[in-house]
Amino acid sequence: MKMGKKITGTLVIPVITLIAAWIICSSQGVKLFETQLNLLTFIRTVANVSLVTFALAINLNSGRFDFSLGSVALLSSVISSKIVLALDWGPVAMLLLSLCFGVIFGLISGAVYVSVKLPPIIVSLAVALLYEGLSFTLTGGHGVSFANSARLLGFASIPNFLIIIVLALAFMIIVFDRTKFGYEYKALLSGQKVAVSTGIREVPNALLCYAIAGGLMGIQGFISATTNGTIQMSLNFGSISPMFMAFLPMFIGGFIGRYSNDKLGYLLGAVTSAFISLLYVRLNVSSSVQQITSALLLVGFLIYLNNEGKLKGLFVRGGGKG
């Protein structure tokens, strides 16, 4: 593939989205990036969405649907914040603790999956219930609040979010594209039976996938907690909603992956989502309109992806006739 086509394919979606958002904002007499706060909101959304998208894609690409991602973020941020508040530690300690607990809870989730050998969707339902219940019990149902902790709330800055985004992307590319684990992951992804027959050990690979996804969600839980200043409790699957914001970026990432790296694609998908979110914020769009627009965008993009051949055929035939 030629370099020009690669660059165009990689950047076309985020660039078109940015231009569209810019034009819509301008037509309403609003600047998309007017203040430093707008930029902070944008970068924070990119960090949040990209982490969830990486975590979701790791297992979903392998056919493992994981409802427990949000509950891993919830439980790891609850425990890390409790420790940090008790010992009066700073945000870096909380970040590292959230990461560690995320890895541990992801690993436990994976361990349950490989032990009971049930479909991952079922295991993730049970794990989500379990982690939500644990979070609720640990906080007595009141959640955690650190609205008075300026140190923890002070973490939310553009450089900090950028560091997290760059490190997460680098980690994902190195681990999944440059290591033996990554090669085996891809082999299992494209042909599970054949890969296992050739001697690839599926169980450790799956465990590591869950651990990495858990770690990423731990960081996402930390960002969410330090941004809001509180951690709200969820029961009866209330924790699964963060997962839904990752579907559009994941499919965009899959499209971009044809032209460059799929991990970079997920990040650019998150950037695209962040442009759309910022547009909503700048135009004060109501949450119901936001939800409807996002759902229509997801369906529209999927229709394009699943009918690309037919659409191109129509376009070529139409062009010939014209």
Binding site: I121, A126, L129, T137, Q192, K193, S287, I292, I303
Partner: protein, 325 residues
């Protein structure tokens, strides 16, 4: 001789696995009755509660079995139930007619279900992702409906209007009629056999001439009827509807179906009774937690462990050498 013994042993093992969900329900019932005697709980009142709490999920989940049999998955059923109930309530407020409310609930739910399946069929979209988008759309639609037609944050049907039908027998009759229809279609008609075949081996089903898209549309339509009836029953039990109406029903449906022993991959081992067994078991479990005065968090932890245990036993007969996906 040796072989016969082995086969008999295998058959017994298979039967134990097959009946594990039913065994779980009976065990939970036994525990509940023991607790009721020990703690002097009002048993008729508790049974009324169990019916009231489980009937909506049983009706909606029984229809959803048709979707699961195909190996598909619909996460938007709870949101669909909410929107159907809201529009049904609006229809009642406009006409003051309960039959109109019932027909509206069912009509709207079927329409939503058909939209999902037709969208997925016509544009070759993955059904699951389509239902995720529908979940978002319907949640937003619920907000719009309440904003446009409600009083504050709710849409209300006068409690007096539904008092006459808010009784256990009426709910059980609706459940029996719908369950009977589903059992007939699933176990005694071509449709059920075809759905199982399609879910078990879609390639083979296609080669024998089965139209997968048509089967999917039929499955979603039947599930839509269940969701519509569930919406109607929701209004009779709780006539004040908000954006949170039936918020947990979507996930309860999945849990109930799986708890009842239904394989998520669908196919020949699908059972129409799964939803009934699963939903009753989960409600019974909730009643036991209540009787034990367990904290909500601890209750959910126990629920998760029991869920995993029962499903693990009921599906342990079908585990292969590679990890399931």
């Amino acid at each position: 001789m040796e072989n016969e013994k082995k086969i008999r042993k295998e058959n017994v093992k298979a039967a134990v696995f097959r009946f594990a969900p039913l065994g779980g329900l009976i065990l939970l019932f036994g525990i509940f009755m023991a607790l009721a005697v020990i703690k002097d709980i009002n048993i008729p009142y508790s049974f009324k509660n169990i019916v009231n709490q489980s009937v909506v999920v049983v009706v909606a989940a029984t229809g959803a079995v048709f979707i699961y049999t195909l190996g598909s998955f619909d996460i938007s059923l709870g949101a669909s139930l909410c929107v159907s109930a809201l529009i049904g309530a609006m229809a009642y407020n406009a006409t003051k007619s309960l039959p109109v409310m019932l027909l509206t609930c069912v009509g709207v739910a079927v329409l939503i279900s058909l939209t999902s399946s037709v969208l997925a069929s016509v544009f070759n979209l993955p059904v699951f992702v389509t239902t995720i988008a529908m979940l978002s759309l319907l949640s937003a639609l619920a907000l719009v409906l309440i904003g446009a037609n409600g009083t504050g944050d709710v849409i209300q049907v006068p409690a007096a209007a539904v008092r006459g039908i808010n009784n256990v027998w009426f709910k059980l009759i609706i459940l029996a009629v719908y369950l009977g229809m589903c059992v007939f279609l699933f176990d005694f008609m071509k449709l059920g056999r075809r759905e199982k075949f399609q879910g078990g081996n879609p390639v083979c089903a296609k080669l024998t001439g089965l139209n997968g898209k048509r089967l999917a549309i039929a499955a979603f339509a039947i599930a839509g009827v269940g969701v519509g009836l569930g919406a109607f029953l929701t209004i009779t039990y709780a006539p004040t509807l908000s954006r949170n109406t039936a918020s947990s029903v979507g996930m309860d449906i999945i849990i109930s179906i799986v708890f009842g022993g239904m394989p998520v991959s669908g196919g020949a081992r699908s059972k129409i009774y799964s939803a009934v067994i699963g939903a009753l078991s989960m409600t019974m479990l909730n009643q036991i937690m209540l009787a034990l005065s367990l904290d909500s968090g601890v209750g959910q932890i126990v629920k998760a462990i029991i869920f995993l245990l029962v499903v693990s036993i009921s599906m342990s007969n079908s585990k292969g050498n590679i990890l399931p996906r």
